[in-house]
Subunit: 218 residues, 2 copies
Amino acid sequence: MAKLDSVPAPTLRRFPNYLTLLKQHLQDGQSHISCTHIAQDLDMTAIRVRKDLEMTGVVGRPRVGYPILPLVEAIEQLLGWNEPSRAILVGAGNLGSAIIGYAPLGQMGLKIMGIFDNDAHKIGTRIQGQTVLTTEQMPEMIRNHSIDIGILTVPEKVAQEVADSMVSAGLSAIWAFTPRPITVPEGVVVERVQLAASLAVLMGRMLEEDRRVPARAG
Amino acid sequence: MAKLDSVPAPTLRRFPNYLTLLKQHLQDGQSHISCTHIAQDLDMTAIRVRKDLEMTGVVGRPRVGYPILPLVEAIEQLLGWNEPSRAILVGAGNLGSAIIGYAPLGQMGLKIMGIFDNDAHKIGTRIQGQTVLTTEQMPEMIRNHSIDIGILTVPEKVAQEVADSMVSAGLSAIWAFTPRPITVPEGVVVERVQLAASLAVLMGRMLEEDRRVPARAG
DNA sequence: GTCACACTGTTAACCGAATCACACTGTAGA
DNA sequence: TCTACAGTGTGATTCGGTTAACAGTGTGAC
């Protein structure tokens, strides 16, 4: 039985990596896999893999490893990827379209129920087979289809406003691609994808490397 | 003078947040700002702000706060955002186009020097005013224009291959949007943007919340 | 049957980041 | 000039996640 303890965020972040690897080995016909093997494939230490898998409650056997199928099922259950969650996307710009087109979204238990924008030029157009609706129709959609997750890819200026109307319509989780934080009431979960933060880490480390080995002089 | 100690990754990640806030206050005509104020605006603790700003080497004054302009300059220097870095993007699909169209890229010191793809349908088309070139032309471009950063938005299958040819052409940093890790030699910096990981955290926490307050049943 | 050992499960040590507590400083106000 | 105090700077503490160390276990080989 899976533990009900809260899973640390770093572990949650690594779960998808395990999933893709496990599914691949499953397709190759294997039924068990050892954490040493997983660690090698994903370039991490065996201990960390063991610790992460411990969260699933699945037990392994000496000289055999962990049973893959139960692992996959346990992880998917911990992530809620075993059954589809209903989601909407607001902001059908470049980024929004890219997210919608991101193939493995379906494998992650996400079902896009609607796409919204307030740009007259975009309303009525189709993205990946779905018609773009006006933002005004959003709250109704959230209520009538009991949407769980809102994907926020609107420009900075209206981000907070849209988030507010999402929350007041009953959404419980927001996946935000906004450069600045948004504030939500207690109980609503927000996860931000910060491209700027990621780039900052990349360039910061790059400068550090250059400083350590000054091969190229600016 | 800014410290040359390595800046912790979490701090690097927060720097862009400070930057946008600071620039905004600068535009509003303010010359100084206190960490308490910053903390309130960004919904974090004052202590953490102070610790982060400590890395810049800029000193604040009691009852006045930190001088904004030096702060901005110090942070941009630590991130290498003060002068443009030359970058290329490989993989002109949905995601690639979205990245190219991501407005603040220029403010982050990134100058896109070329866009590459190996899909015959895309080669020759224009994205944000730039013509898509064939992947074969990439190494030449890297060498001739001393490109620093490669943005990797290709499908999973060719990711490692493209990364390899980037590295062998002399790139020193890769910003990868690939679902699986890529391996590079020592000295090359890789930063992955993992959409799946982010979504995993969101949904994991959502389930936790539901478990804690079981308002909605299945 | 029994032996070796690959691999797991668990407790303890470690480390870095976040947080706390508090001394210090110099400005603003009287 | 003096005082109060907002706000900084810093050493000590806590905390969570990673790593290490080691005991336990049951499979596969002989």
